[in-house]
């Protein structure tokens, strides 16, 4: 019973409550009239009805000619009404849930925007005026002050703010007593301590508002006691800072009982317009330079820059290219053991108009390597073997300096300057032992050579390019000039011993000192002009000029005959090459279709003088060779709508024979191979054409590209060979460059990558086929070496989780080489390899990385069947609260098999060589990163 009564009471209470709710109207009409400060009605004001919770726009209207507006039958849910007009400050009114169906707001007064704000801030500075309730603020960045200015200087420029002689700030007649920085008091209460000390460049916004009194802040009730304050908002400095890393590592190579070590460090400091970086490395683990990632970070914004060589002509570069200067990068071929030191400095400065890069790099390498090579050379009726063992001790060091300045004078004129210098030294001790034998392994002769060289070289390259674009769209002019200077000095001590086995065993020894000096100067200039004919067609014309002069002197003395000069080996020559080319092309450029068809006429003049020493009479009359030719050029590329691109190219190339072909320096270092010059050479001429197609599907993440290229030589300069068996001496070869017609190559490439499971499993494939036909005359019989080379690369990339990634791949290449003069020597060279890698983050800051590569080298003729198993593994742990340290334990070449094997088929020979290299070693390293190491594995890109 009690319960029932309770229920009744509850129900009746509930119904009463619902009645109250129902008494509220569901739809309302809101209206008002807008009046300005002079009691004029304000028409055409925008009136917006916003959701009171989040300011979302619900409805809007404009006031009529009498300043009236209304929103009819809108939901009764509580609004914020906002009135805005071109010349008035926006006004906001709260409209709570109403009990009446008509909400008449009566008259709303609008206040005009202060003229000074309108004129100066909005119109002249194009700066937005931020209105937050009673706060008005402007973007300080738009009011330019010179660098080094204080906040006071900035404030003097802001409209509506006055600063008197003693630095007191006032606005609208009121003094500003407080200045906050990012909302906080700065250096006590004196506003001048901020405005006179803080750098204006650090400020992004200036706000002026009425500060609430302490009491109002606590109670929330206004007591009318207000004071004007100013807040300075600081800029977010994401373009400013520094970063850097350092690594120290030590390890052992058990087999060679060698201690291994490596150190590396870099530091970069930057702000919005400058970048400064320094890098250094030292090791004995075959890292002769830094890797591309470190290099690009070292160069910073200058790592990618225009490929500006100033040689205008057909084609021309578009966009930005990766510009890698070799110095500093790790370009080691893996043969042998090295000790390396290097480092550099880089400075970049850039503004909208200026882009400057200056950099210096030093590196040195101590190399110690051995190579074992077997070569079989085919003659028309026979063949012979050559076994070479060589050892090389090499010390080289390089200083390189580079600088580049790009200056955009204005929107239509720009300048580029580039100066590079390179100074290097190289000391080499090269020991080589060559054993010639017949196909039946009968020794013919043996040659021992020891070359001790010391080489110093200097190179200086400079370039300037000026380009101008005219008012007429598409009309362009550019001119360039360049100066290159190269100088080298080489001292060479050559010891050569020959031993002959066929006749009575005989020994022969030579010891020569050579002193070689080379000087080379080039002056270049090019000009380009583009004239638009119509919207789609333009005409391009260019002119190239190049003058190259070089001098070379070699003074030989015989050590065995009391340093008497050897005339037959001493030589002094001077040559000059003048190159002039003028060309034109007509271009069609429209909607992704770009076609250029053109031609150029080129004239090359070669001059050559040749004597024993600089002051001795010419040995042969001065050689003058003029060559003149017309070269056509065609290129087309088409961009289809669905990310498909097609490229077609054809060009005819003419290259004048180099001086070393016309009159070579005699070389006695190997008396079994002699090279002669040929003053009657004609230029090399070839046709090359290429086609490529590429497709990228963003929806399925599929990439495919296919390319095909063909080149055919009308005339090719080839070293034809005369090999004779000289009784008592063995096989001697005389090589002479001659023009040979024919010879071609075709190559096709395919590359594709596609996901099997999106973001998880990706498959990639690349393959190539190359056919080449190379002619050579051997003992006046034309031999054609035909090579069919196939290669195929398959790979899988599996991202199991964000913490575990696995890749697997295989590679195979087959070269089928046939020789027309001795088909019995035809052979197949097969290389097969398989690889796999794993990256696994097995704990929060712990990583395991390993890779394994298996390669099989196979050649039937040489009975070569070599298997190489290479495996590396490492485990690393990121340490410290901010992840600033990393500890890494690694083993390289776990199976201790590393060496370099190469197989080269030549025009009439095949060579296989093996070089030992750094094999198994263990290494422990500690790294420090100023910014902290990543503790998240980088995800696979495809």
């Amino acid at each position: 019973m009690k319960i029932l009564i309770k229920n009744i009471i509850f129900i009746s209470l509930f119904s009463c409550f619902s009645l109250v709710v129902n008494a509220q109207v569901s739809q309302i009409t809101i209206k008002a009239q807008l009046i300005d400060e002079e009691n004029e009605m304000v028409p055409a004001a925008t009136v917006m009805l916003l959701n009171s919770k989040d300011s979302t726009l619900v409805n809007y209207t404009t006031s009529d000619s009498k300043g009236n507006f209304s929103f009819k039958n809108v939901k009764n849910s509580g609004y914020l009404l906002k009135v805005s007009h071109v010349s008035f400050m926006p006004v906001q009114k709260d409209i709570p849930i109403s009990n009446n169906s008509i909400v008449d707001l009566g008259i709303i007064n609008l206040e005009p925007i202060a003229e000074i704000l309108m004129e100066v801030v909005i119109k002249s500075a194009q700066a937005p005026l931020f209105i937050k309730g009673d706060t008005v603020e402007y973007d300080a960045r738009l009011f330019k002050v010179p660098p080094g200015s204080t906040v006071e200087d900035l404030l003097k420029r802001l409209p509506g703010i006055d600063i008197d002689a003693s630095g007191n700030i006032s606005t609208q007649g009121e003094n500003i007593r407080r200045v906050y920085v990012d909302g906080k008091t700065f250096f006590g209460d004196d506003p001048k301590s901020v405005t006179k000390n803080l750098d204006a460049q650090a400020i992004s916004r200036v706000q002026v508002y009425d500060d609430k009194s302490e009491q109002e802040r606590i109670s929330g009730i206004g007591d009318g006691d207000k004071e004007k304050v100013m807040n300075l908002e600081l800029k977010e400095e994401f373009k400013k800072g520094h970063f850097g890393k350092a690594t120290l590592a030590g390890g052992i190579d058990e087999e060679r009982e060698k201690l291994l070590w490596a150190a590396r460090g870099n530091f970069n400091k930057f702000d919005e317009t400058q970048q400064f970086s320094v890098i250094g490395f030292a090791n004995n683990i075959n890292q002769t330079g830094i890797n591309w990632d470190d290099y690009s970070e070292f160069k910073g914004s200058a790592a990618f820059s225009g490929r500006d060589n100033g040689d205008f002509g057909f084609g021309g570069s578009r966009g930005r290219h990766m510009y890698m200067s070799g110095d500093g990068l790790n370009y080691f071929d893996g043969k042998g053991f090295t000790k390396n030191y290097g480092g550099g400095l880089n400075y970049n400065y850039f503004t909208k108009k200026i882009n400057l890069n200056a950099s210096y790099f030093y590196n040195q390498t101590d190399l110690n390597s051995e190579t074992f090579a077997d070569r079989q050379t085919f003659l028309a009726d026979t063949s012979y073997l050559l076994n070479t063992k060589s050892a090389r001790f090499d010390f080289r060091n390089t200083h390189s300096l580079s600088s580049r300045l790009e200056y955009d004078i204005d929107s239509s004129n720009s300048l580029i300057f580039r100066i590079n210098g390179r100074f290097s030294g190289n000391q080499t001790d090269n020991i080589r032992n060559q054993l010639f034998s017949t196909i039946l392994d009968q020794k013919i002769n043996q040659n021992y050579t020891n070359n001790i060289d010391s080489l110093d070289s200097k190179a200086l390259n400079s370039l300037a390019i000026y380009s101008h674009s005219f008012k007429k769209k598409g009309r362009k002019f550019a001119i360039s000039g360049a100066l290159d200077y190269n100088e080298s000095n080489k001292k060479e001590n050559l010891i050569n011993k020959n031993e002959f086995f066929l006749a009575s065993t005989e020994l022969e020894q030579i010891n020569i000192l050579n002193s070689k000096d080379n000087d080379n100067n080039t002056v270049k200039s090019s000009a380009l002009y583009v004239e638009p004919i119509s919207k789609r067609f333009s005409l391009m014309g260019f002119y190239n000029f190049k003058a190259n002069t070089s001098q070379s002197a070699n003074l030989s003395t015989d050590v065995l005959t009391a340093n008497t000069m050897v005339d037959s080996l001493s030589i002094y020559y001077q040559n000059k090459e003048m190159f002039n080319r003028i060309g034109t092309s007509i271009n069609y450029n429209w909607e992704g279709l770009n076609i250029a068809l053109g031609g150029a006429y080129q004239v090359i003049n070669l001059f050559n003088k040749y004597s024993t020493t600089e002051n001795s009479p010419l040995l042969v009359p001065e050689l003058k060779k003029p060559y003149s030719n017309f070269v056509p050029n065609f290129s087309a590329n088409y961009q289809l709508p669905n990310n498909m691109r097609i490229n077609l190219n054809y060009n005819y190339r003419i290259n004048a024979p180099s001086i070393s072909y016309l009159q070579p320096i005699p070389n006695l270092s190997n008396r079994f191979y002699k090279t002669e010059g040929n003053p009657n050479l004609e230029p090399e001429s070839s046709h090359s054409s290429s086609a490529s197609w590429s497709y990228w599907n963003q929806a399925s993440f599929t990439n495919v590209s296919v390319s095909l290229s063909h080149s055919y030589y009308d005339s090719q300069i080839i070293y034809n060979q005369e090999t004779k068996f000289v009784e008592g001496l063995g096989y001697t070869t005389i090589m002479k460059p001659e023009n040979v017609s024919g010879g071609q190559s075709i190559s096709t490439n395919l590359w594709s990558s596609m996901p099997i499971i999106k973001t998880k499993l990706t498959f990639n494939i690349s393959g190539s086929y190359r056919y080449s036909e190379s002619p050579v005359y051997i003992n006046t019989i034309r031999n054609t070496t035909n090579t069919n080379a196939y290669s195929l690369n398959l790979g899988l990339n599996l991202t199991l989780t964000s913490k575990l990634q696995i890749t697997a791949g295989s590679y195979g290449s087959l070269s089928d080489v046939s020789y027309s003069i001795q088909t019995s020597q035809n052979q197949n060279i097969l290389n097969l390899s398989a690889n796999t890698s794993i990256k696994w983050q097995f704990a929060k800051k712990s990583f395991f990385e390993a890779n394994y590569n298996f390669t099989n080298y196979h050649n039937d003729r040489f009975e070569l069947n070599e298997n190489l198993h290479l495996a590396n593994a490492s485990i690393r742990q990121v340490l410290g609260k901010e992840n600033k340290f990393e500890l890494r334990l690694a083993v390289f070449d776990l199976f201790n098999q590393n060496k370099v094997i190469s197989q080269n088929p030549g025009s009439n020979y095949i060579e296989t060589s093996i070089s030992p290299s750094l094999a198994r070693y263990y290494m422990l390293s500690v790294s420090y990163n100023i910014k902290g190491f990543e503790t998240k594995q980088k995800q696979g890109r495809w």
């Binding site: 055409a44 925008t46 931020f130 930057f270 909607e591 990228w696 890109r941």
Partner: protein, 248 residues
């Protein structure tokens, strides 16, 4: 000053009272800032953002052109790269035409996205704008700002609309404000679309649905949203910026 405002008011009165045809062309400049774009992507690592700012900070911007034709009822927005059309190199212009018809409440947008060309034919679905409180001048017009958070791309978009251009159109796919949108700022300058020139004239000949081949896929607004959100999902998984594949 007063005189000018008075004149504007007179013009506006005549526009609203006579319901006179209000039509013209707006030329916009689109400015992309790669560094700010990369910085705004939540799922990229801090070091990746810093590295890209370091490497590309000096050439972080590039601009494109766009045109909006409009009258009281219809707007057509196109991206035209005039600069790119003549000269020694030309790329294909973008297939991106946005058609809005307020009278019929329809869209007819021709878009190429992730290698597909399609038409979005649907009702107009404008952004859920929050009105802010700031004022600035753009191309001679006083504008007010509004904010929209794109739930799919996560972008924060500020639109500046002209108080004296009473049409609810705008560049790209933005609209639905009490005045013409003259500037759009996505993620604090990562990408801005800003009016450079406004010309009032009759442009009826341009106010037509974009032309295309007959056989084309028709999308609804929801299909388009799904396409975009799928792409963003995949980009998140591979931790690369989504805007290399799809529009910002």
């Amino acid at each position: 000053m007063r005189h000018l405002i008075f004149n504007i008011i007179i013009v506006l009165i005549s526009i609203s009272s006579n319901a006179q045809e209000f039509s013209g062309i707006i030329k916009y400049e689109i400015r992309h800032n790669w560094i700010k774009k990369i910085n705004a992507v939540e799922y990229l690592s801090k070091s990746e953002k810093e590295k890209s700012a370091y490497m590309w900070g000096h050439t972080d911007e590039y601009t494109e052109d766009a045109i909006l034709y409009f009258n009281n009822n219809i707007s057509v927005y196109e991206e035209v790269d005039e600069e790119n059309r003549s000269g020694s190199w030309s790329s294909r212009s973008k297939e991106y035409t946005i058609y809005r018809n307020i009278e019929e409440n329809t869209t007819y947008d021709l878009i190429r996205e992730v290698n597909k060309l399609f038409v979005i034919e649907d009702e107009i679905q404008n952004q859920n704008w929050k009105i802010l409180n700031d004022i600035k001048e753009i191309a001679g017009h006083i504008c007010m700002d509004a904010l929209y958070k794109d739930p799919i791309k996560g972008n924060s978009i500020i639109a500046w609309f002209a108080l004296d251009m009473p049409v609810s159109f705008g560049p790209d796919r933005f609209g639905g404000l009490p005045g013409m949108i003259l500037e759009v700022d996505i993620n604090q300058g990562a990408m801005t679309i800003s009016a450079k020139k406004i010309e009032e004239k009759n442009v009826d000949e341009f106010l037509v649905k974009p032309k295309h081949k007959k056989r084309i896929k028709y999308f609804k607004e929801d299909d388009y949203k799904k396409l975009i959100s799928d792409q963003i999902e995949q980009a998140k998984k591979t931790e690369r910026p989504y805007f290399w594949r799809i529009r910002y």
